[in-house]
């Protein structure tokens, strides 16, 4: 098990700075995804194989180029300009509208998806750099008739108000629980520290995360009413 203390929040912070410094250059973004902190498994792969296995340096653009992304277990072929971010590709090219784009600079966590199991903010990654990785979006986690335990815990605890931050919150919590099945309150708060909710839903998010963790471990959720 890799060192997983570094959750999506830290990834976001460093990618955002890279975006400002690197003016959107793909190389800068990928090199910063790991940041100066110990990279987690998915991030390492992102750094070592930013392009397909052809070996030669690859040039994309400026016009749309066809790329293949693995999203929610399926191979999806899309034609995108190299400047298109993963968030834009998911929404505008793949019709996966669950991922929300809110700040477009890695500051709010609304576009959080899983990249090889790790939470990343999809607005800070170019679609082309997501090739070769397993991407899971909120739609891949569950659907209304077969919700992931984190999703049903959000509904039961009313961990959503306007709902716009909810997909990102759910993805952050699901990523936390997949690497730490028994988080304490502090770990829950840190895992969603980069997810901003203007409706102020956080207390119920914390409650939902702890309830989902308990349910997934098969124990009675903390403070559950009779």
């Amino acid at each position: 098990m890799p060192d997983n203390r570094d959750d999506g929040q830290r990834t976001r912070v460093f990618t955002r700075r890279a975006f400002i410094k690197g003016a959107g250059a793909a190389a800068a973004i990928t090199s910063f995804i790991g940041g100066p902190t110990p990279p987690s498994a998915g991030v390492t792969r992102a750094q070592s194989s930013p392009t397909p296995a052809s070996g030669a340096a690859e040039r994309l653009g400026p016009d749309a180029a066809t790329i293949v992304l693995t999203v929610n277990g399926k191979s999806r072929k899309i034609a995108v300009e190299p400047r298109v971010t993963l968030a834009e590709a998911l929404r505008d090219h793949l019709g996966l509208h669950g991922t929300k784009l809110v700040c477009d600079r890695g500051a709010c966590g609304a576009c959080t998806v899983h990249l090889d199991g790790n939470p990343v903010v999809a607005c800070m990654m170019l679609a082309a750099d997501a090739r070769g990785h397993e991407i899971v979006t909120i739609e891949g986690l569950g659907a209304p008739d077969r919700m992931h335990p984190v999703q049903s815990a959000f509904v039961e605890a009313d961990a959503l108000q306007c709902g716009f931050c909810t997909p990102g919150m759910v993805m952050s919590v699901a990523a936390l629980l997949s690497r730490n099945p028994a988080p304490d309150m502090g770990e829950v708060k840190r895992a969603v520290a980069g997810n901003i909710c203007r409706c102020g839903t956080y207390p119920h998010v914390f409650k939902a995360a702890l309830a989902a963790a308990a349910k997934m471990r098969g124990v009675k959720p903390p403070g559950e009413r009779a």
Binding site: R16, F154, D158, C162, G194, Y202
Partner: protein, 733 residues
């Protein structure tokens, strides 16, 4: 026709019989102790699964065949004459389908709309903006509220003073009051411009089919948007169809058809294709509204016993090129005082226009008044809670103070040591008020189908409070069926009219219309059931999924069986929302307690816990009600500690139009929040529901500021209470 009813109204320890005159076809208002089966229980919101799975369709998610993407070019200057706009190069760019001028001769804030394009992708639309050539003649500008009041200041509007007319309220005579005062406190308090930061930005998707305009819009008022567009495009209202299935926040900033909505429709018409135009984050901060700042000179006078003898407020506030900056509400409401004078003036500056924001004016006024009360209490050597109790104007709040102090442990915490190394603990309390009574206007339709389903349709919208759920719960209650059998359809101007969702009006305006519609539907169902039971319809009741003879539960027929006997496919009834009744009380009291920890080495303030005590009339769903309390408190923490729109004095441009430089309270800033509701059977409507959204936000920043004062012994009279202000207050910088 009207009828008289006598109902039990009031709150714990204060119940009385009240006679109300209500319309003939109106169900009797729910009264104190009314036994209800669905209403008042914690229910997961009915559309929660759609939100948790990302399948709830927001305006932002609408995609139509052949849809184009719109983008807006904004003025870089805070004040300029627009000499010419050249769209030709933008129009020639591959993928651009329309380009239009806004047509304003003068722009008055940096970020004002100048031109717009529609293109086949968002990226190309943005590329096209860079090709628009605008010849501006920059004009002198003023962004600082103090500067704007000087005679030499540039005029924001030609031929009009930057200082608006005073709005004065006067009761008694404050001069006499102050002459009799044993203690007087006077100081100036300021609050910053706050922006709404709805996560879903403003915007719309517009589609023309001939002269029929359909607009999916991120709005709190679908009918307002419809009527605005009908006027602007010279169409009868029925030619404009507005849809808001889900709304990603509004907080008061999304009422009418703003420039971006109008531009989307103009571009769609010019391009002959649907256009989606959702604002980028920076534009959302700059151009879609804000809570005006305030400068409040507060003067309070009290007798030796703490009784207030005079309250005086001199207020200035700037909503940029907009108005509505007043903050006097709390001064006139929270405390009993014979002599009150408030004077408010709007100051115009070259900055983005204000719009209503969560209890407009009240958090600002409450902060200044309540911190001033604490400073007065110190002069009087009185406990701050005691000072408030002695002047409290509302019996419900008296109970709330008592309850809150107990749960918060006010008295123990008052005695606890303040200093722990370089950390200082402090507590504060502030009173809140609002008037979430709602209004007449909404009309609802209730439909029963032969398969036993019930559908409620009403043209309201859900800003995130769980509107569908509470409407369905009210209908389920009235019809005596489980919640799962009822669904509520909202967010479409093809349904019957409802009012905009703002000012805590959604629940109190819509639930009575829905209850009346459900009651009328029930009457029709009882008439179908009567022959099945061999009984008179007037002797029947709908309960527990059955229709039965009152007092004889065994003489029953199931609700489903009655529905199966509906002669046509469906049975439909309507209801409307009458004007408010006199009821028990028409005001809405609350109070909040906060505990903070201040690090006097770094100046950082952490809110440790908040106890919020509120009157929401009858709570329909305690679970979603608590969510609203959490939200009001957390937004209040942002206002108290973090949020401030900053404009660059040289360029007049907002320097923090992002979500990292404009800081909102996040998960790590979240305290322990305890929500307590004092149930009040107010009889103002047939449901007695009060809106909660504003009331729960009014007092938070005030309670935090008071707690910081308690912690460090020095008042920080300027929001946000940032580390530099704390360090300055304790003499560290």
């Amino acid at each position: 026709m009207a009828r008289n009813v006598t109902v039990r109204l009031g709150f714990e320890g204060n119940i009385s019989d009240v006679r109300l005159v209500i319309p003939d076809d109106e169900p009797t208002p729910w009264q104190w102790g009314e036994p209800l089966a669905v209403v008042g229980r914690e229910m997961a919101r009915v559309d929660g699964a759609l939100k948790a799975t990302g399948t709830a369709p927001y305006t932002y998610d609408v995609e139509l065949p052949g849809m184009l993407y719109g983008a807006i070019l904004r003025s870089p200057y805070p004040h300029a004459r627009v000499r010419s706009v050249d769209l030709s190069a933008a129009r020639r760019l591959r993928g651009v389908r329309a380009a239009i001028e806004r047509g304003e001769a003068v722009v008055r804030f940096a970020g004002q709309e100048v031109a717009a394009v529609a293109a086949v992708s968002p990226a190309i639309a943005n590329d096209a903006l860079a090709l628009i050539k605008v010849d501006y003649e920059p004009l002198p500008f003023v962004i600082d509220m103090e500067d704007a009041q000087k005679p030499s200041a540039p005029r924001v509007f030609a031929g009009r003073a930057n200082i608006g007319a005073p709005a004065v309220f006067e009761a008694g005579n404050v001069r006499d009051g102050f002459e009799r005062a044993a203690a007087i406190h006077q100081a100036v308090y300021t609050t910053p411009v706050q922006t709404h930061v709805s996560l879903e930005t403003h915007g719309a998707v517009a589609r023309w089919e001939g002269d029929q305009l359909t607009v999916w819009c991120s709005t709190q008022g679908i009918f307002t948007v419809r009527d605005d567009l009908a006027v602007l495009f010279n169409l009868p209202p029925d030619k404009v169809h507005v849809i808001t299935a889900f709304l990603g926040g509004g907080f008061g900033s999304k009422f009418g058809a703003g420039p971006e909505v109008v531009i989307a429709a103009q571009l769609a018409r010019a391009a002959g294709a649907p256009v989606k135009l959702m604002l980028p984050r920076a534009a959302e901060h700059v151009a879609t509204g804000n809570r005006p700042n305030s400068w409040q000179q507060v003067k309070l006078g009290a007798g030796r016993d703490g009784q207030l003898v005079a309250i005086e407020l001199l207020e200035r506030g700037s909503g940029g090129i907009g108005g509505g900056a007043g903050s006097a509400g709390p001064y006139r409401t929270l405390y009993r005082c014979a002599n009150i004078r408030t004077e408010e003036r709007d100051i115009y500056t070259n900055a983005g226009p204000s719009s209503p924001m969560r209890a407009p004016g009240w958090p600002q006024g409450c902060f200044a008044l309540e911190l001033a009360m604490d400073e007065l209490a110190r002069k009087l050597k009185l406990d701050r809670l005691e000072l408030r109790r002695r002047n409290n104007a509302n019996p419900v709040r008296a109970l709330e103070f008592e309850l809150g102090a107990k749960v918060f442990n006010w008295h123990e915490k008052s005695r606890a040591p303040k200093a722990l190394g370089h950390r200082r603990r402090g507590i504060g309390v502030a009173a809140a008020a609002w008037h979430g009574l709602g209004s007449a206007g909404p009309q609802a339709q209730a439909i029963a189908y032969r398969d036993g389903r019930v559908v409620i349709q009403i043209g309201t919208q859900d800003i995130g409070t769980g509107t569908r759920s509470i409407l369905a719960m009210v209908a389920a209650e009235e019809l005596g069926v489980p919640l799962r059998q009822v669904s509520a359809e909202i967010g479409d101007t093809r349904y019957l009219f409802s009012v905009p969702s703002g000012g805590s009006s959604t629940a109190p305006s819509n639930t009575p219309a829905v209850r009346q519609a459900a009651a009328h539907l029930k009457d029709k169902l009882l008439r179908i059931a009567a022959p099945m039971l061999g009984a008179d319809p007037a002797s029947l009741e709908a309960r527990d999924g059955t229709i039965r003879v009152r007092g004889q539960p065994s003489r029953a027929v199931s609700f489903a069986d009655v529905c199966r006997s509906i002669p046509a496919d469906s049975l439909c009834a309507q209801g409307e929302r009458p004007p408010n009744y006199a009821g028990f009380r028409t005001d809405q009291a609350g109070c909040q307690f906060a505990e903070v920890e201040v690090d006097v080495e770094t100046g950082a303030v952490a809110v440790l816990n908040v106890t919020a005590v509120h009157d929401a009339g009858r709570i329909i769903n305690p679970l979603t009600a608590r969510s609203q309390v959490n939200g009001g408190v957390i937004m209040g923490i942002g206002f108290a500690l973090f949020e401030e729109r900053r404009l660059d004095p040289i360029s007049g441009v907002m320097v923090n139009p992002t979500m990292d430089d404009y800081k909102l309270a996040g998960p790590l800033d979240t305290p322990e929040i305890t929500a307590l509701f004092v149930e009040v059977a107010n009889g103002v409507t047939n449901t007695g529901v009060l809106g909660l959204g504003e009331a729960v936000h009014v007092a938070t920043a005030a309670a935090i500021a008071c707690a910081v004062y308690d912690a460090i012994g020095v008042p920080v009279r300027s929001l946000p209470i940032t580390p530099d202000k704390v360090l300055a207050a304790v003499g560290k910088v």
